[in-house]
Symmetry: C2
Subunit: 225 residues, 2 copies
């Protein structure tokens, strides 16, 4: 009996060693994999981020804009969009006071104007005058949008969340409006005509929209076919 | 004196009529402008929206994913990203319980898998098994990411805001990780190699990233030159 136990223990030890060796070999292979992910640090990198031109009025009624890449849709019912803004910006005080903002989506041909909106402050510059763009008062919310940009979203602030360097303004979308020229035959806005930009936070550069790849809620069905 | 006043009043009336006529004529011209914006209604349309594949564990430790287009960066310090999720989803319960999630950015070649993640529920389907993709446990947060996707963001939930149909989960970014294959010579992630997708909410279709257009915080300086 003692011998049997000794033999069994031996087998278990050998089996254990084999398993350990095997796991070690596997782990070595994993580390050598080409696709192993490299840590880049706690950065605000996601792809894509948008180029939202945010419109607001100051206390004297002067229209201002800024460019925001930190934001996105945040609710379907009610329809809401969130934008994150630093307290130091002129827009921050404007939205705090008026509880409204617009988002105008610039076509890629307005890259220069959109970028300018993010470089200077409305505290010292009249950004509309400098860019020769036209503020239009929203008929629904207390904020202006950019007439020359093909697509606009009009928002009323329903929630404000201070997060850290940025404060999140959550705006309920009261309407979206588009130039007739960017609507498709079905009356829906056509992204290929709007030509929105995307912002790449990793190299702080602007990119266009690429080619159509496939339909949502459709392509995935092929997985099970 | 009476005559003078009458004459002045007459002039003011005439001037008033001229102004009214002029404003009316201008307004008529405005309405005829080709670029006049058309109201589309209170829709969740902005361009672009992202294709975030959100990873989470359920209470039994089973990895799950879903695809989220409602979200974006929401703070720089601490670095945070927000994702909006309906209470009915399996992911909602997972993140509520674990207070962590990841975002894996699929390359466009994974369109089908990403779309599948948005069609079926983790309550009834093992999405990793169905797509033959590999869950990897984050070393920093209690959530899995998708090994085959080239770029991942690991998040710890710091705030939860119920907005309506969707609840906003604000995650502090603990690390971002990328495949070596998508890093540029400078060690930074290269969007042209990641090939992220964008989602167009107006036609519910996926698009690629287009061409480089220009540098941020640079192009705008030409406005004043």
């Amino acid at each position: 009996m003692k011998n049997v136990l000794a033999a069994m223990t031996g087998s278990i030890l050998i089996a254990g060693l084999l398993v350990t060796t095997s796991v070690f070999a596997q782990s070595t292979i994993d580390k050598k994999e080409k696709n192993m992910k490299k840590s880049i640090g706690a950065k605000t990198f996601v792809f894509p981020t948008p180029v939202f031109v945010v419109g607001s009025y100051d206390t004297s009624g002067r229209p201002n804009t800024m460019v925001v890449a930190w934001g996105g849709i945040c609710c379907s019912k009610p329809p809401c969009v969130a934008i994150a803004i630093r307290e130091a910006t002129y827009t921050y005080g404007n939205i705090m006071a008026r509880k409204a903002f617009t988002i105008s989506i610039p076509s890629e041909k307005y890259l220069r104007e959109a970028d300018y909106f993010g470089i200077v402050s409305g505290r010292t510059e009249d950004k509309f005058a400098a860019t020769k763009l036209t503020p239009v008062k929203s008929d629904l919310v207390d904020a202006p949008y950019v007439k020359e940009f093909p697509f606009v979203v009009e928002c009323s602030v329903i929630k404000i969340e201070k997060l850290g360097s940025h404060t999140l303004f959550i705006g309920e979308i009261k309407d979206v409006k588009a130039d007739e020229a960017v609507l498709g035959n079905d009356g829906a806005p056509d992204i290929a005509k709007i030509k929105p930009m995307i912002f790449n936070p990793a190299n702080r550069a602007y990119y266009g929209i690429g080619k159509y790849l496939g339909d949502g809620f459709s392509e995935g069905k092929k997985i099970k076919e």
